[in-house]
Homo-oligomer: 148 residues x 4
Amino acid sequence: MAYEFKIVQEVEFHHTDMAGIMHYSNFFKFMEAAEHAFFRSLGLSIHTVKPEPLGWPRVHADCDFSYPLRFEDSVEVRLLVREKREKSLVYSFYFRKINGEPQREVARGTLAVACVKRDNVSGKLTAVAIPKAIADKIEAAPPEAFGA
Amino acid sequence: MAYEFKIVQEVEFHHTDMAGIMHYSNFFKFMEAAEHAFFRSLGLSIHTVKPEPLGWPRVHADCDFSYPLRFEDSVEVRLLVREKREKSLVYSFYFRKINGEPQREVARGTLAVACVKRDNVSGKLTAVAIPKAIADKIEAAPPEAFGA
Amino acid sequence: MAYEFKIVQEVEFHHTDMAGIMHYSNFFKFMEAAEHAFFRSLGLSIHTVKPEPLGWPRVHADCDFSYPLRFEDSVEVRLLVREKREKSLVYSFYFRKINGEPQREVARGTLAVACVKRDNVSGKLTAVAIPKAIADKIEAAPPEAFGA
Amino acid sequence: MAYEFKIVQEVEFHHTDMAGIMHYSNFFKFMEAAEHAFFRSLGLSIHTVKPEPLGWPRVHADCDFSYPLRFEDSVEVRLLVREKREKSLVYSFYFRKINGEPQREVARGTLAVACVKRDNVSGKLTAVAIPKAIADKIEAAPPEAFGA
């Protein structure tokens, strides 16, 4: 069972805005990229058609920004599973700028996501219990993992 | 039958990049917004599930940029139907900055789109003839429409 | 002095994702669009070069999602000033789907933004007191405004 | 002197749209990512403040799409310098899906970019000759490079 994953994302030109820093909406895209890579690392996909049309819409997202990211920065996005519930998961994210000196934390975020079944025709989403094949691979991180 | 449509788009902060101008990828989003509004103006939608799962993937896109757009600029996007074929449409777009003086053309673009049927389960796309209910509402613009 | 503003945003095709709903990162873009339109409604701009190079980087953002938005939905974004501090502002946002029946709240969010001075050459950002010309036009909403 | 570069990009969830495929605007972001990585591979940056505030706005972009990309696809983006002029560069791009079987070309594109000097205060852009330090590192690809 896994509770942690890290990816590195590069700040591309199109991520920046006229203030010369990464637009804050991209932190939310990076969180999601880490979540999806975490699933792939477990042999899973966040969006399946077979055996079931499952998805994981977001029910809550937040981010605190402490330092700006700029073009050509590299940022490590560390995911920790904060909570595992019957029909949802909550993740914590720690963003760390890893190019240049000093390396530093630049943001922290949270995503709460619900497991849903999609109707392929109507598109309707219905909350369902996390399938055993997924739930068996994911666990909440122990308190000490949030320490650093 | 219609061959022309205009919308106005506002340049938002998130459209800009660190060069202080609108990132060029957004011109392609604005073209598409004009195309979709054109369809809505005819009582149509670019993406349908019923009576058929139809879509319009892009097969070609181009844009020539002559003047930068900046935050809080307003841009008129004028769509003209350049070609109407059995299974595809070609649009021309003219971007005109309409705030400040002088008003000026800032870009010109093209989209070629194919009519496809989507398989709801596999997601596979198959080119099909434009349904009569759509084809009957759209015509190619006369040469003089491209004049200005 | 003002504490409230509303805009309407349309859900464009490029806002959607493969789950068939608006990607959640766009809620954050819509919040910002409301904030910037609020500033414009007061004769201000969120990003100035003269008389001073001022900007408003985000220090916190959150959003709770209760109902998905889909292509061609119209959403009213209502901004309320929740807090006015010496160097920062906190906004609340209420998203309401206004096409179709029933109209319904679909999300609620928060943005906390800091007033900063930008160095035009280095790009460095320094927190500063909100200039009087801006502070005089904005006030915190009364508690009853958050009622509905 | 260099005329070719390759990067690999992953198709993230936020790149997809409700048609279940990568939204076409992202091909233009991927072209740019390849261009900027090409510059970095030469010890250069596409956006400099010192010794000069240089930038490279796009003057033309096009793309032909032959096959859709989907979530979790990997795409190789191959850049070739097609033309080197006094004040501008033209690049060709070849997109190749490299996961799954068969690997296949999915799109081809072009970017023409102009070298400009930015005024840090007004933001005005003025076309200038490509500085020698940059021009000395880049050359047009030989005709046979476009062969495959």
